[in-house]
């Protein structure tokens, strides 16, 4: 279903967003937060915006939602210039920002209901959707609690669910899974997939959680230092690093002789104590793995695997930052 939706969007679908030469320089700053960014976001896809902290991702999505004025360049939303029609953007786009709602004295269900009615739902429709969302995210026990008395994750959930009220054509979510517990995080990604697959909604999501993004996103842009480092379908992005499979080796013990063997393999790197990463060409990987296993003491090896390119590798390739070093 995901592939069908993607194929349709890429072949016959219109663009949700067309961004051209977008530059944003904040007042008092010399370095641009966004520098000459051009990208197309087809309607009906899940589009991931990736990049290191401070890369300019939030600046980009705030401009897409009309909340921030670009310094130069153009953003077209379904063909219309956002800069001149910024007041109409909320009719199409629902936005969840990184900064949480300051509605401490509101109950969870009030936030959803008010948002839904302001977006044009009848009070009954809004109540119905709010109840459905609360049930879907197993949050009915939170319905009547005040946001000010909730944990950060629960408050974030309220803000995220408010984004879903009244089913806008485009959802823009800036790091929606931060602070959420694993169950709700998983549910959220599943819900985004459902929204896209069922209703064809365009979903733009900023996230640092690459393995989770990889399971739902059709396309991605990688922003680094305010510029587009890479953009395309996940397949296209991964093909840029297709020649780089890797062997991951977990060691129970790292005796001098084991370290000696591993150190002699070109490119082998001790990512952290007990974890060695060895890059390999896809065709050479089996033979190289055999050689490594034969060279090491059997009792020293805990586990091993051959890993094909992931978003982590794409991220590493285009930003030079290795997320695997800190992965569990």
């Amino acid at each position: 279903m995901r592939d069908q939706a993607l194929t349709r969007s890429l072949t016959v679908g219109p663009l949700a967003y067309q961004v051209r030469d977008l530059t944003k320089v904040y007042r008092g700053s010399k370095a641009p937060a966004n520098d000459d960014i051009s990208l197309d976001i087809p309607a009906g896809v899940i589009y991931a915006v990736l990049g290191p902290n401070g890369a300019g991702k939030t600046t980009l999505v705030r401009q897409l939602t009309g909340l921030l004025e670009p310094t130069a360049g153009s953003i077209r939303l379904f063909g219309d210039e956002v800069r001149t029609k910024a007041d109409s953007v909320p009719l199409i786009v629902a936005y969840f920002g990184q900064r949480l709602l300051a509605l401490n004295a509101h109950r969870f269900q009030e936030v959803l209901w008010i948002t839904g009615v302001l977006r044009g739902q009848s009070p009954a429709q809004a109540r119905q959707q709010a109840v459905a969302l609360l049930e879907s995210f197993e949050a009915t026990d939170l319905a009547r609690r005040l946001l000010g008395q909730m944990s950060m994750g629960e408050r974030r959930l309220a803000a995220v669910l408010a984004t879903f009220m009244a089913s806008r054509r485009v959802l823009v979510l800036d790091e929606p899974t931060n602070d959420l517990d694993p169950l709700r995080r998983q549910r959220l990604w599943h819900y985004l997939h459902e929204c896209n697959a069922g209703d064809g909604r365009t979903i733009i999501v900023v996230s640092h959680n690459l393995p989770e993004v990889e399971t739902v996103a059709h396309q991605a842009v990688l922003i680094n230092q305010g510029r587009v480092a890479a953009a395309g379908t996940l397949g296209e992005l991964k093909r840029a690093v297709a020649d780089k499979v890797r062997i991951e080796l977990r060691m129970k013990y790292e005796g001098p002789e084991d370290v000696g063997v591993l150190s002699r393999i070109p490119g082998a790197e001790r990512a952290r104590p007990g974890l060695w990463v060895i890059p390999a060409a896809p065709d050479d990987a089996p033979a190289l793995l055999r050689r490594v296993l034969d060279g090491l003491r059997r009792e020293a090896i805990d586990d091993f695997r051959v890993v094909t390119p992931s978003l982590d590798d794409v991220y590493l390739h285009f930003t030079g930052k290795d997320v695997r070093k800190y992965a569990s």
Binding site: L67, E69, K85, S88, G97, L101, L103, L118, R201
Partner: protein, 271 residues
């Protein structure tokens, strides 16, 4: 033109021209009056936790000044000036000082962006927070008016209430302007307190215009509270529309500027 596909309840075919929204609502935004009431309701909910202290803040200053002026000013008009002056202070506190601080605080805490991302207009938001100020000032206004009526025999007419409400909306533009242009809540708080001193003590709120120093008589004409206080005193003295129309005209003009023109200049979306 940007438009939503939500107008049709029919699930549109997924032909690539527009994503179908199967659970689409019939409209894409709440009608104006409903949106106004909803945002007002939402803003009033903010008072759920600290309404008591808010009322104390709104009431204490005007009540203290009421007693202070009445007791210390040795003039037959003391009662009238004490009551009308305190009512103007109450109105100014809610419409300008609190509103400016509220808007600055909204900016700081992201509530402002929350509304900017929803399909409501700047004008609606300014009208809501001005109305919120008026509503929150009502208990204090009623208290001062009641004390004035019972203890000092100063009668506030229905026209006087209209003048106060009109004055509140006239002042709201100033509060909104300060709040929106302040960097954060702290700066808005300081700026509004400076302004509060100017609009209360550099205008003929507690004393007659003719008793003010010469140059202040001219600068006072640029301060909205001058017109509110003068109209209120005239109405308390039994004056009708024929006597009040010059002040009312100024206040209506300022209210229109506050509610219609000031929002157009507000940085709704940031540069």
């Amino acid at each position: 033109m940007l438009r939503s596909s939500h107008r049709s309840a029919e699930p549109a075919a997924r032909d690539g021209t527009a994503p179908a929204i199967s659970s689409a609502p019939a409209r894409d935004r709440a009608p104006g009056p409903l949106a106004f009431l909803l945002v007002l309701f939402s803003e009033m909910l903010r008072m759920r936790l600290d309404w008591f202290w808010y009322l104390i803040q709104m009431s204490l200053n005007p009540l203290a000044l009421l007693v202070f002026v009445y007791v210390l000013w040795d003039d037959p008009r003391a009662a009238q000036f004490a009551v009308t002056g305190s009512l103007v202070v109450t109105m100014s506190t809610s419409a300008m000082l609190s509103l400016g601080q509220q808007v600055g605080w909204m900016k700081e805490t992201n509530a402002y962006e929350h509304y900017a991302a929803l399909p409501i207009s700047r004008k609606l938001l300014v009208a809501v927070i001005a109305t919120r100020g008026v509503l929150l000032s009502l208990p204090s206004i009623l208290t001062v008016a009641l004390i004035g009526h019972v203890a000092m025999n100063v009668r506030i007419t229905p026209l006087g209430v209209v003048i106060l409400i009109l004055g509140a909306y006239a002042m709201s533009g100033l509060g909104a302007f300060v709040g929106f242009w302040s960097k954060d809540g702290r700066m808005a708080s300081m700026a509004t307190q400076v302004l509060a001193t100017i609009i209360i003590f550099l205008a003929p709120v507690y004393i007659p215009l003719e008793q003010m120093p010469g140059f202040l008589r001219y600068t006072a004409m640029a301060i909205p509270t001058t017109y509110v206080a003068r109209a209120l005193r005239l109405s308390a003295a039994g004056g009708g529309l024929s006597a009040l129309w010059p002040d009312l005209t100024v206040l209506v003009g300022l209210a229109l500027v506050s509610l219609l023109l000031v929002p157009l200049r507000l940085p709704w979306r940031r540069s």
